[in-house]
């Protein structure tokens, strides 16, 4: 794939007209997908897809096109030639764009990891054995993912990995369930077994008589997966330079110094330790990390090439100015002490379907989902029926933050819209003095 992509861009670059620049991005994946319900397969198959993004630039005019690729170099080259001709025609029509910016410094990179994925039957067999006697619902996505950038200036970037993500739940009855996942580059049957055993243990607690909790404020521990969901929603339009300059960021009060978070809160876009590509679509290499919030204060925004040109800043992110590898620095609470420190309150493993109640106040609503437990005097007593919360980030990461756990988890986003996600979060759990439930 790599050689074909670079050859394609070489061919099209040679055919460019004077003053034209071509940027090309490719994402290819060959994915095995399996989904289970009740431990039985509902759907299974293989998807072989490759999409090529082309940007043609002439001076301050630019147009984009995306094509699916067949894998046959000559066929794809002919389609590219046609697409570029159409882009060229459009450049005659579109007005000038004062904020066009792309990397003119040639910085090529190549990072590939060998394929250590097991054969399909090993994984299916392990899942089948582990799911015996339990209501297992979940999905597997597995196979190679390849991302490339090339431009007519001669820059070439390539990342290739072979990974899997098994994301599943174990159900008792109705919505009483436990969530788990296992991701990586090499399948380890024993490790999978340990994760499954842990999920089975939690499922035993879910079989106890569930408790209904009245709306109100409670001491709460949000486990890393719940923190991931909270930060994921908070990040919508929160960190981009444009969002701040146009007063639209959910964290505007933070960046303008009106409010602050707890001094222990430091948030980074950590590309170095993530699974995301180290380059973006306009040819810029991403910095190893961008510190977004430091010791509770807003630090640096994410800056796309367009915003860099518009607002006079340096590029450090992709087009959407959204974190792809968000890290919340851990704190001092040992995981083994979480229940004791929580005392009496709710232990929330997962949050779900969040959205904003008030963007200006960064106030968000959402639901508990899967294993949420009622804890008394440091002991798990019973599962809790699903609850709706409505809380501000300034309270959760500010006034109500009691501690963060000392260990973080790397959580891969399981979404596969358009393709398998390279987004992840590295987050600890957080202990809160108060967390408001409303319904």
């Amino acid at each position: 794939m790599k050689e074909k992509f670079f050859e394609l861009v070489d061919r099209r670059s040679k055919a460019l007209q004077k003053d034209e620049v071509l940027l090309a991005n490719v994402h290819q994946e060959t994915s095995d997908f399996v989904r289970w319900n009740g431990g039985r397969i509902r759907q299974c198959g293989t998807v072989d897809q490759a999409y090529l993004g082309l940007t043609l630039i002439r001076g301050d005019r630019t147009c984009d096109s995306i094509l699916s690729l067949t894998g046959d170099l000559d066929v794809d080259d002919a389609r590219c030639e046609k697409a570029i001709a159409a882009l060229r025609e459009r450049l005659e029509v579109v007005p000038s764009d004062p904020f066009v910016l792309y990397s003119e410094e040639v910085r090529s990179t190549d990072r590939s990891t060998p394929n250590r994925l097991p054969d399909r039957d090993t994984v299916l067999g392990d899942v089948e054995r582990a799911a015996a006697g339990v209501d297992f619902v979940g999905s597997l996505a597995s196979g190679p993912m390849r991302t490339g950038f090339a431009n007519s200036l001669g820059q070439r970037n390539w990342e290739e990995s072979h990974s899997f993500l098994l994301d599943w739940s174990l159900f008792h009855v109705e919505d009483r369930a436990v969530k788990a996942s296992y991701s990586g580059f090499e399948w380890d049957s024993e490790r999978f077994g340990r994760i499954m055993d842990s999920a089975r243990s939690q499922l035993e607690i879910m079989k106890r008589e569930p408790r209904t909790v009245a709306p109100g404020k409670y001491r709460v521990y949000l486990a890393p997966a719940a923190v991931q969901e909270f930060l994921g929603t908070m990040s919508w339009g929160a960190f981009g330079l444009r969002a701040h300059r146009t007063k639209q960021s959910n964290l505007l009060k933070l960046s303008e110094g009106e409010l602050s978070l707890d001094p222990r809160v430091t948030l980074k876009e950590n590309t170095r330790d993530s699974i995301a590509p180290g380059f973006q679509g306009d040819g810029y290499l991403k910095p190893d990390e961008v510190v977004l919030v430091e010791n509770g204060k807003f630090k640096d925004p994410l800056v796309s090439p367009r915003s860099a040109k518009e607002f006079g800043a340096s590029v450090n992110a992709g087009t959407w100015e959204s974190p792809n590898s968000l890290e919340l620095q851990p704190g001092g609470l040992a995981p083994a002490d979480v229940l004791r420190e929580l005392g009496t309150g709710l232990y929330v493993n997962n949050l779900w379907y969040m959205n904003f109640s008030d963007r200006t106040a960064c106030r968000m609503t959402g639901m508990t989902r899967f294993a949420t437990f009622w804890v008394e005097d440091g002991e798990i007593v019973a599962p809790v029926k699903v609850m709706r919360f409505d809380e501000s980030a300034y309270r959760v990461l500010g006034s109500e933050l009691e501690d963060l756990t000392s260990e973080s988890e790397l959580l891969v986003v399981p979404d596969t819209y358009g393709g398998r996600s390279s987004e992840s979060h590295r987050v600890p759990g957080i202990l809160l003095r108060n967390f408001e439930f409303t319904l």
């Binding site: 319900n37 397969i41 198959g45 007063k247 699903v386």
Partner: protein, 475 residues
């Protein structure tokens, strides 16, 4: 040799085999703050082969449509079917799949290509410029998304369906900031999406609505927050459709009811035994699945499992009658459904997706509904949505609100939100607007499935009145 001949050439000796070709072109035009952002087009062609054999099932998706490419996909799908034999949720061999014949085409009055790119850009720039001029306005967005999609569905027993769709999503939004508050007003919150040609751009009012949205958002900046309390709400169609989508559409999807979605999109509070008797809402609630309204976003002749689409009542006079589930789910659940097994492209297998799910108009005028409210809020245009995984406890927010006091509209309120429980909320439906309040809208990006996929859903609804709702505002 054309694609059909190539497919027939590589057909395996199996119980069922289908090929679904998808050829989709898109164009996206976007003007932000008077700058024309890069015009984006796309061309996406590929096919999915599905095989059922010996009780197992498998699929393979490829963009290589040569004979050898299709043969490879057939072999992959066949291997999955063999590998899943005896391990599946049902014996797929016992489900007799349709072998349909037919075609469907979106009626288009003004083809998208018949209007020059220069003219389309000129319209967007003009409308963007028209909503500017006030220093409190921080962003102006005007865009049009166009999708042309051609599909061909073939089966091993002679089934052949060709369909051709044109989708248009015009959008305009104005965002303003003052005194620490940032608020937006938009054309239906991207809910104005339809099938058709360029005529949709004119029909939706993209060339007229901008100044009204600008004035409204500027007024909202100085309005008080929505009050908190239990009161009545009158919801305009661009909020009712979201309420229908989240708390009727999704709970009625059969794959949720069967449990397929429990790990991701969630389950449903609806159970199979409820069909035919469960009181979902007041007697005023009539919900249809209606693929026959050709301008609506998700109209079609056949779904992606080959089932013929026909208009059906899902809820009649408040009683639940029918689910949103395609052929395979109907067979598995033993519950009546509709033709709604759909995929969002050649890379994803079909799953149960709501298509056009409509709340049928009633008899009330808007004035009559307002006049019935002593204490309430009139809300427009969804801006926030959240609901639990059983589709029961919800919270929704709107862009615009106006107080209703003693049967009269009074002052504006900002950040109106309300929350409730699906199973009881629809029973508080106290009045349904007549045809004069009825709008055909939709949702362009509904997410679901493993692997994940988005779907286009159509929704048409009138203005509605609900009583005793838990209402609140911003901080």
């Amino acid at each position: 040799m054309d694609l059909e001949a190539r497919f027939r050439d590589v057909l395996p000796d199996v119980e069922f085999c289908s090929l679904r070709l998808e050829d989709e072109s898109q164009e996206f035009l976007y003007v932000r703050d008077d700058i024309v952002l890069p015009v984006r087009s796309s061309a996406d062609v590929g096919a999915m082969v599905t095989v059922v054999d010996g009780g197992g099932i498998g699929y393979a998706a490829t963009a290589d449509l040569t004979t050898s490419g299709l043969a490879k996909a057939v072999e992959q799908a066949r291997a999955w079917a063999a590998g899943s034999r005896g391990r599946t949720v049902t014996d797929f061999s016992k489900i007799v799949m349709p072998h349909p014949k037919g075609s469907y085409t979106t009626p288009v009055r003004t083809p998208w290509e018949s209007v020059s790119l220069a003219d389309k850009i000129a319209l967007l720039r003009e409308e963007c410029a028209r909503v500017g001029g006030d220093p409190r306005i921080v962003q102006r967005d005007v865009s049009i998304s166009w999708v042309h999609r051609e599909t061909l569905y073939l089966t091993n027993d002679g089934g052949r369906v060709e369909q051709c769709f044109d989708h248009i999503v015009p959008s305009i939004a104005v965002t303003a900031h003052a005194d620490g508050q940032t608020l937006s007003r938009s054309l239906g919150g991207r809910g104005y999406c339809r099938q058709g040609g360029y005529e949709v751009v004119q029909e939706c009012g993209l060339d007229t609505v901008g100044p009204e949205l600008r004035d409204e958002v500027l007024e909202l900046l100085s309005a008080p927050d929505c009050p908190t309390g239990t009161m009545d709400v009158v919801l305009d169609p661009d909020q009712v459709i979201l309420q229908v989508h989240e708390s009727i559409g999704h709970p009625l999807e059969l794959d949720r009811i069967l449990g397929d979605e429990r790990n991701y999109a969630g389950r449903s509070f609806v159970t199979p035994d409820m069909f035919g008797s469960y009181r979902y809402g007041s007697e005023l609630l009539n919900i249809t699945y209606d693929p026959s309204r050709t301008e609506e976003f998700a109209s079609y002749g056949f779904d992606d499992e080959g089932l013929t689409a026909t208009r059906e009542y899902l809820i009649r006079d408040g009683i639940l009658e029918r689910a949103l589930g395609g052929h395979v789910s109907q067979q598995r659940a033993g519950v009546p459904g509709v033709a709604c097994s759909r995929a969002n492209g050649w890379t994803r297998p079909p799953i149960d997706r709501m298509a056009n799910v409509n709340l049928e108009p009633g008899s009330a005028t808007l004035d009559e509904m307002i006049g019935r409210v002593e204490n309430g809020v009139y809300m427009k245009t969804n801006t926030s949505w959240s609901i639990d995984d059983s589709r029961n406890k919800f919270q929704f927010g709107c862009e615009w609100g106006r107080r209703i006091e003693n049967g009269k509209l009074t002052h504006l309120v900002r950040k109106p939100n309300y929350r409730g429980i699906s199973a009881t909320f629809w029973r508080s439906l106290a009045a349904v607007g007549n045809e004069s309040t009825f709008m055909v809208l939709g949702t362009p990006n509904c997410g679901k499935g493993e692997p994940s996929q988005t779907a286009r859903a159509g929704h048409a609804a009138p203005t509605c009145l609900f009583t005793n709702v838990d209402v609140f505002g911003g901080e």
